[in-house]
């Protein structure tokens, strides 16, 4: 946490959606809860990216879907898959995301668009309960669970906690895929859920 240049930021998607659609739909506020159509998703993602510009060179964002009633596949692709994908690089990503409020009605759409592009993301499926959605290996799932239970793994305890080299490689993959954060100075790997804990 201390190694993030700035603290995590929280972005309420329903508020962003309201702003995006506000010009044309301002008379009916209930409409803002439906995150549908590709142009709407594109506009919401652009608005989120604008907020990330000021979030520092390495950022962690809690993208909150709690107040979104419906998200279709097109919007899930634009808001979740494309957002995750564009910050991935051969090096460790410079933007990390936790998607909050990914309840049962949203889960299938988000899982589907992530898997389609070989991506994965950390989601809060129930209050305080986190999971990895999308494409991941068994080893990645296993190691992510270990990390999620412990909260953080320091470099000095890595071999003891993850004696199998394949698991240590999986942990490195989790970092590369934006599913865990490695402190640039300490090398300590921390679960994203732990880093956004104060925003929940």
């Amino acid at each position: 946490m201390r190694e993030l240049p700035h603290g995590p930021i929280s972005i309420d998607v329903s508020e962003v959606l309201g702003e995006v659609l506000g010009d044309v739909r301002k008379s009916v506020t209930s409409l803002y809860s439906s995150l549908v159509t590709r142009p709407t998703g594109r506009a919401v993602r652009a608005a989120i990216e604008m907020q990330l510009i000021g979030a520092g060179s390495v950022s962690l964002s809690l993208i909150d879907f709690s107040e979104v009633a419906i998200i279709d596949f097109s919007c899930a692709d634009e808001v979740v898959a494309k957002l995750v994908q564009q910050y991935l690089d051969e090096e460790e990503p410079d933007a990390f995301f936790v998607f909050r409020g990914v309840h049962e009605p949203h889960r299938d759409q988000i899982e589907t668009v992530l898997r389609r592009q070989g991506l994965a993301a950390v989601v809060e499926s129930h209050p305080g309960i986190f999971a990895v959605a999308g494409e991941h290996s068994d080893a990645e799932a296993r190691v992510w669970t270990v990390l999620e239970e412990r909260g953080t793994i320091g470099e000095e305890e890595m071999e003891r906690i993850l004696p199998d080299p394949a698991d240590r490689e999986a942990l490195a993959n989790l970092v590369l895929r934006g599913l865990a954060f490695r402190g640039p100075r300490s090398g300590r790997v921390t679960a994203l859920s732990r880093l956004v804990h104060n925003l929940l």
Binding site: S34, V36, S74, D77, D108
Partner: protein, 278 residues
Amino acid sequence: MGQRSLFDARHLRWVDPDGMVGLLVAGTIAGREQTHLPRLGLPESHDVTGYLARMGFFEAAHGIFEFDPPTRRGHGGRSDVLLEITSVASNADVHSVVDRVQGQAGMILSSKLGYPASAAVQFSVMLSELCQNIIEHAGAPGWVAAQAYNWARRLGRYVVVISVMDVGRGFRGSLAGEHSARYGDRWGDTTALEAAFLHGLTRFPDSGRGQGIQQIRRQVRRWDGAITIRSGTARIGQVPEWDDTPPLVDGLAPLPGAQISIVLPAKAQGPETGDGHG
């Protein structure tokens, strides 16, 4: 310009969303070739005109047909109209469809089809993707409508029928620029439908595209429903055991644009009998 057409519906005794939306498509196509709007002879049956009124047909038909205002708006009271005929020409229309259908969908899908409460969300997502298909691929306006029926004699269960049609370029026209070359001489309405329906091909290079129809198919299959898409001279479908519709047909009368029809059956038989509108 051709002679003015007459669509004679005076003896119409029953019509479903496919029929109503199809009538709008036929009128639009006919009107392109004529200096005057096609004439529509309204059904003599008050039940049918009442149902057309409930489904918003007359509002949708304004500007497509010339017709005498119906003298009686028919029955009020209980209705299983899930979504009145709605014009889809912009993304705002898709938002409108999704917002309008949510409350009614939950009630009808639960009470008539026995689906869980969460089905209302999946149903709305499906409608959203269906409507976006018009905007993104047709390049022309279209319509959507949905209604619950008791198919007591045909299936012994309630069903929800969804109809989506447009007057655009069709699947072959939408995909031709990107995909026709690889099919060579085989390229046509059938191969275009197979490409989109079975393989998820789209004219967009973005790897995130082309999943709308695939996800609609998946959801329809989960509900043991039927889906067919007709475009040009071909029709392709995903049909469950209870339906004897052929999965692929070619050589049909040419249909400009596309028609997507979905039938979602109830999980258990409803208590009422007799086929008819709700």
